[in-house]
Amino acid sequence: MNRFPAGGAGILQSGTFSDPLAFYPYFKTLLVGLLLGVLLGAPASARDLVTSRAVLVDRDGDLDIQAVAGSELKDTGSILVGGYTDAVYWLRVTVRAPQDGGAFELRIRPTFLDEVALYEPDPARPGAWLRRVTGDRYVNPDRPATTLGFLMAPVREETTYFLRLKTTSSSLLVVQALGPADARADDLLRELTHALYLGVMLSMAVLALLGFINLRSRLAAVYLLYLATQTASFVALNGYLAHFLPAAHPHWGDTVTSILVMGSVATGVLFYRHLFRDYAASTLGLRVLDAFLLVSIAELCLMVMGQTRLALQINGTVVLLLSALAAVIAPTMRSGPERERRIIRGLVWLQAGALVIMMMPLLGLLASRVEWIVDAPLSQGTVAAAVMCAILHQRTRGLVEARRHAEMEMKMTHTLLEAERKRAAEQARFMDMLTHELKTPIAAVKMVFQLPDASESTRRYALTTLEDMDAVVERCRQLDLLQQGRFTPLREPCRVDDLLAEILVSCPAPNRLRLATGARCDVESDRHLLKIILGNLVDNALKYSAPGSEIDCRIERHEEDGQAHIRFSIENQPGPAGLPDPDQLFVKYYRSPHAHKYTGSGLGLYLVRHLTELLDVRLSYDQVHQRARFTLWIPA
């Protein structure tokens, strides 16, 4: 019976999620290994002792050896390609004896043939034939490791043998006669090639497993299933299963191999079903793939009913149809990046072409004298797996890219959310400040108006409170301008002492300032912003100094490292609130716990700090002999 690997679908997940493409070089190595395997897998034709081959098709299967020996056979090439048929094939081979006259092996491939009978001349009875049988339904304890066959002893210089082939599988046959040394070399090369195939399959399984673990992709899971059935059927198709079956039930190998072959086709269909669904391909195409899955179930039913040959023939046809259908469905993929879809489409077409070429001999559609045809169906599963591996790789890249994109969007959303939270918290702090700092003075002013006989000092308090409230509102306006970036420094010539004089005009207690001004107070700076800075510093000193105490203010020119500065310093003795905390002094809304005696916003020094940064003015605060001193270095 004939089975062969199915062109299924597969998935290869490459790499880990964190960097799936890190496996890319590994993936390339894997493909190179696969190609080498294919090259090595085309077995060297070695030194074949067969000198001629001829074939006879016994359509009814009722001819015996005597009839065939008396018939005229048609010369044929090294490979018999009969396809799925109920006919019996007779092959006549003429073999020359090895030069040393010793034994040789008559090697028959593929190994999944049901029954191959050998007829050899009986040296004791001229004209009579001896019959021996091999196949995957027979126990062959002395068969070669990787082929069917017989150990032969040459009778004369050239001997003619007849082989009768009857199988439920595709009637595909290659016969070689090799001396012992060549046979061992052939076995070794074939086993090495198979080991390489299995290694490649295992590597792809590892990659897929990693992808499955990292991305939980169903496509990767189906691909792993495909690899499992494909590898199992590969082992069975190459005759290894026969070595492990009980001698009493040699036919089990035939049944298991058939099931595995059909299973590998079904999992291949399943792979394409998931792939095309992920990329939103044509619904009709997906329904046809569903139908193929139902066909696989029907094939199993046919096997149970004893119609194994028909089931396998349908299975082979499904592979061909699947190749064609996948090539048609691939262009209908609608979702996913265009580049990714284009690559996957190309891979699907590549696989379809390879499958058609490789499946043709099994269906009897292609005859060739090239021996690779025998190995092609066996290795096509690996080729299919590799192509599917590439498809899976693309899919994984797409998924990883999508996830990266989603993660990036999530990060951006988080960032925006965090910014919004900060903005809301800032707004809440601002409102809290405004509520507390304005409601208290409003209460005071309101009570004054409700006291008809309020004293003069109380009325003055009310007036001062209103001025403080006005200052709070002005600070809030300045803060808003600063936060909106609407303070654009404009350099112009101005004098620091003139600015201070303007400030003192509207100052409530100008006589408390002890001013020391040097010559040449000219600076190039923004007049308006500089005035805000100086005004806030003066206001701060007046408000938080000891009541009635003097405030020292100095303006002097200072040269340092060839750079001229106007140094402005303002120094005061602290009031009841004490010296401020230097670490919090310039923090927005900060007010010393004991500074709430007067209305304030906690914004004055915050504005000073930011405006000095805008103007490239250096600002410092220090405590000198228990006095608070602010200093500005304004570039002259």
Partner: protein, 229 residues
């Protein structure tokens, strides 16, 4: 006729404090204004107090904590809490700590004075059931206990009232000296005179344990329950 009350206004905003004091004074009350709980301690001395108007946000000890402490030492004291905070949680918190009224800023003069008058009337009508422990009557300058009552000197009353009102009923030596106005003139040994006298008087009115416990290198702590009438 509204009763004349002894009122303390505890408000850190100077203008509001001055105006509130003037508003309450205009209705015939005796009013002092202080900016913090600490200042209240210093300002009261042995004066009796009927009502306190306290802001919540104060430097140092906050207004709610002050209200709780004052209610413990002056169970008959009226407490009006004034704040910009108008959330229910804030109000409930203040009431749980002993506030009789919670007013939200800005408060009108009429409302504040009406609240003070209403609270004063209620406090005057309230009966004073005999309390366990000891009572300090600052108006009559007497100490009452389970075994009777005894007169106090002004110094005794000042020391005892300061300890009753202090956080944890504990004061440092310099704080007691300051209350007596002796900070610049006398050393801590001078305190022994009023303290010893107070201990004797506590014994006379029924104290079994040391009512004024000396804390080494610190000051004194009240060792029994005393409330101010």
């Amino acid at each position: 006729m509204d009763p004349c009350l002894n009122i303390a206004v505890v408000e850190d905003h100077e203008a509001l404090r001055v105006v509130t004091v003037e508003a309450l004074q205009s209705r015939g009350h005796r009013v002092i204004g202080v900016e913090s709980a600490e200042c209240l301690q210093e300002a009261l001395g042995n004066q009796s107090l009927d009502l306190v108007v306290v802001d919540v946000n104060l430097p140092g000890e906050d207004g709610v904590s002050l209200a709780r402490r004052l209610k413990q030492s002056h169970p008959d004291l009226g407490v009006i809490v004034v704040s910009v905070r108008n959330r229910l949680d804030d109000k409930l918190g203040a009431y749980e700590c002993g506030a009789d009224l919670y007013l939200t800023k800005p408060v009108s003069v009429e409302e504040l004075c009406a609240a003070a008058a209403a609270l004063g009337k209620r406090l005057q009508r309230a009966s004073h059931p005999p309390r366990r422990g000891f009572n300090l009557d600052l108006q009559r300058m007497r100490l009452r206990g389970p075994a009777g009552e005894t007169p106090l000197t002004a110094q005794d009353a000042t020391v005892l009232a300061a300890l009753v009102r202090a956080p944890g009923h504990r004061l440092e030596t310099w704080q007691l000296l300051e209350q007596l106005g002796w900070l610049d003139t006398s050393g801590k040994m001078a305190l022994e005179v009023p303290v010893s006298r107070l201990r004797r008087k506590f014994t006379l009115v029924g104290a079994n344990t040391n009512p004024l416990i000396a804390i080494r290198k610190h000051g004194y702590q009240l060792g029994c329950d005393v409330v101010i009438d």
